[in-house]
């Protein structure tokens, strides 16, 4: 937290070492977050870079993060993801194509994992953007509800509700996939 404040102070002065540290520290985290949403590597890289570009733009106008750098960066990433998803929603584009990550086990295991990943990604895509954000931050990135709340500008109670509804929806999807032979 102390370090974050120091970085933030440096960033406001457009101090290069501070900005460099911010990029190096947060790029991997934001890239993962964006990738989980859209499951397309190049687009995730571009949107992540755009987060930093927006930060510079805001800082140069005297705006930008005031207190919580990480939460602010995640919020920008989230907004960019939402914008991107809206633009992509009606295009002939399968965002899951690049989503299968090889785990390097035997072929049978590979196939099992590929199906599991595909189903999990599909279940995640069925969620509302906010439910998806909560599930990603909590279960894939390991944040607590208290950490997620400022990122999404929600109360902890609202985060819990979204988490509950999101998990329920994913369960339903997986059950449906199972019953219809998708196992």
């Amino acid at each position: 937290m102390v370090e974050e404040q120091a970085l933030l102070r440096g960033a406001r002065e457009l101090d290069e070492p501070a900005l460099n540290a911010i990029f190096e520290t947060y790029y991997p985290l934001l890239y993962r977050y964006v990738y989980h949403h859209i499951r397309h590597q190049t687009t995730a890289e571009d949107l992540t870079a755009e987060v930093f570009s927006r930060m510079l733009e805001q800082l140069s106008q005297g705006d930008g993060p005031r207190q919580y750098l990480k939460a602010w960066l995640y919020r920008v990433a989230h907004n960019l993801v939402i914008d991107h998803t809206r633009r992509q929603v009606h295009r002939d584009h399968d965002p899951l194509d690049e989503g299968i990550v090889s785990t390097g086990h035997d072929v049978e295991m590979e196939v099992h994992n590929a199906i599991l990943q595909w189903q999990a990604a599909a279940a995640l895509q069925k969620l509302t953007p906010m439910q998806r954000a909560v599930i990603i931050l909590k279960y894939l990135e390991g944040y607590s509800n208290a950490e997620i709340a400022p990122i999404l500008e929600l109360s902890v109670g609202a985060v819990k509700a979204l988490q509950h509804r999101g998990l329920a929806s994913m369960r339903r999807y997986l059950a449906h996939a199972r019953e219809s032979g998708g196992e």
Binding site: Y27, Y31, E45, A49, M55, Q58, R66, H90, L140, A175
Partner: protein, 431 residues
């Protein structure tokens, strides 16, 4: 039936399987990193250079792309002149290029060169007006192609062109600015209608249209088939009604999924049962009328005027759960609350084009809010007049930058020393 415990285990496994993500490409990341630091360096240099006189204080957001081009205009001029001598055909072809076309960069370079070679304020203004017009035409063409990615870029470019226009007027001397303002006013007004049309229905249709149409065509199959209707499934999830209820309205009552969504939105906003909402729709004929009847949107100036389908589509966002994509974009771009934009749009009935210009104008030193600026524009008839009234353009260069505005009702105010900008609360930040 699937066992709950088994399902939880499967869900856990499914989530686990998503944790691994491919690493970003190292080369691209390094390039992005370098570009980020280079931009930061450039911004630091700009921040350290002496403050520009007059209009650099928040009036009309800066036009970064165009400004950068100005900075290198001399170099580009030389390059383009060379190109003119050798590759005139390419430049001619590039003139009709739009964002996303391979020749668009050439088109931009030629324009920068032309700007670099033009000096008289009137000529610069005319050139900038024609460039703004060209940007708008590009946006219209991209909207027609439904190329939303490049449409956003074209709209940004249009915003940058208007910013340059206003900045040019800002640096003109008093007499020049006063004579050039009406031309700006006329042009911007003529753009506004096109902009509203461009920002509104085109995007709304692109957003809601395509996929749904296909589903509607195939929709009846879902009434007899075993597969769930994807839209009905989504609506059931989003509005907390059963899938069967939705399919009942769809298959037996004959409502389209779009209508069902409007009814669900309206029901959620008013608490009226969905069936009553449908009954009202049948009685009153259109969603606009239903929402006006239920007090969800302000009434139009002319109550007898029926709303067009496009207007209904637009106003659906006033009661719906889905954010209006353009309003959201404006909120993100200009750092204002989405809700404020929708209030101006839904209750004030301002067009999104007008709202965009108000946001571009930004809060002035006197603290006029975008809403007040919109009202001023309505009262005064044009943005040029508003900007002149606010002293943002047409102020002679020898006057002090912060001279207070004189209003007939109020006594003249002394020059105020503005306190340092307050820190905004973290929550409000919307990049």
């Amino acid at each position: 039936m699937v066992d709950q415990e088994e399902l939880d285990r499967e869900l856990g496994e499914a989530l686990d399987s998503l944790r691994d993500v491919p690493l970003p490409d190292q080369g691209r990341q390094a390039a992005q990193h370098a570009a980020f630091l280079a931009t930061a360096r450039q911004q630091r240099r700009l921040a350290q250079s002496p403050a520009r006189p007059a209009r650099s204080r928040g009036f009309l957001r800066p036009a970064p792309a165009l400004s950068k081009r100005w900075a290198v205009a001399g170099v580009i001029t030389a390059i383009v002149l060379a190109m003119l001598l050798s590759t005139g055909g390419v430049i001619y072809a590039a003139d009709g290029a739009v964002p996303g076309d391979p020749l668009y960069g050439v088109d931009q370079a030629v324009e920068s060169a032309r700007l670099g070679l033009t000096h008289r304020p009137e000529s610069v203004l005319n050139l900038l007006l024609s460039l703004a017009e060209e940007r708008l035409a590009e946006a219209e063409e991209l909207a027609a192609r439904q190329d939303e990615g490049n449409l956003n870029l074209a709209l940004d470019n249009y915003g940058a062109a208007v910013s340059s226009l206003a900045q040019t007027l800002g640096t003109a001397d008093g007499a020049d600015a006063a004579s050039l303002t009406p031309a700006l006013d006329t042009a911007i007004s003529s753009h506004e209608g096109r902009l509203t049309q461009l920002l509104g229905p085109a995007v709304a249709q692109a957003d809601a249209g395509e996929g749904e149409e296909e589903q509607e065509e195939e929709g009846t199959d879902y009434c007899v088939g075993a597969d769930p209707h994807p839209t009905a499934y989504r609506l059931a999830e989003a509005y907390g009604v059963t899938y069967e209820e939705i399919m009942g309205w769809f298959c037996y009552d004959g409502y389209g999924m779009g209508e069902i969504e409007h009814a669900l939105q309206t029901s959620a906003a008013t608490g009226l049962p969905v069936e009553e909402v449908f009954a009202l729709k049948v009685e009153l004929g259109g969603w606009g009328e239903v929402w006006q009847e239920l007090g969800l949107i302000g009434s139009t100036d002319d109550d007898s005027e029926e709303l067009t389908e496009e207007e209904e589509e637009e106003l659906a966002y006033c009661v719906g759960a889905d954010p209006h994509p353009v309003a959201q974009r404006l909120a993100d771009t200009y750092g204002v609350a989405y809700e404020d934009i929708m209030t101006w749009f839904c209750e004030g009935r301002y067009g999104l084009g007008e709202i965009m210009h108000a946001l571009q104008t930004g809060s002035d030193e006197e603290g006029n809010t975008p809403e007040e600026l919109l009202q001023m524009k309505t009262d005064m008839g044009g943005w040029g007049q508003v900007w002149q009234e606010l002293g943002l353009i047409g102020k002679p260069d020898d006057k002090p930058d912060k001279e207070p505005k004189i209003k007939p009702e109020k006594p003249e105010k002394p020059v105020k020393v503005k306190p340092e900008k307050k820190e905004k609360p973290e929550k409000k930040v919307k990049p």
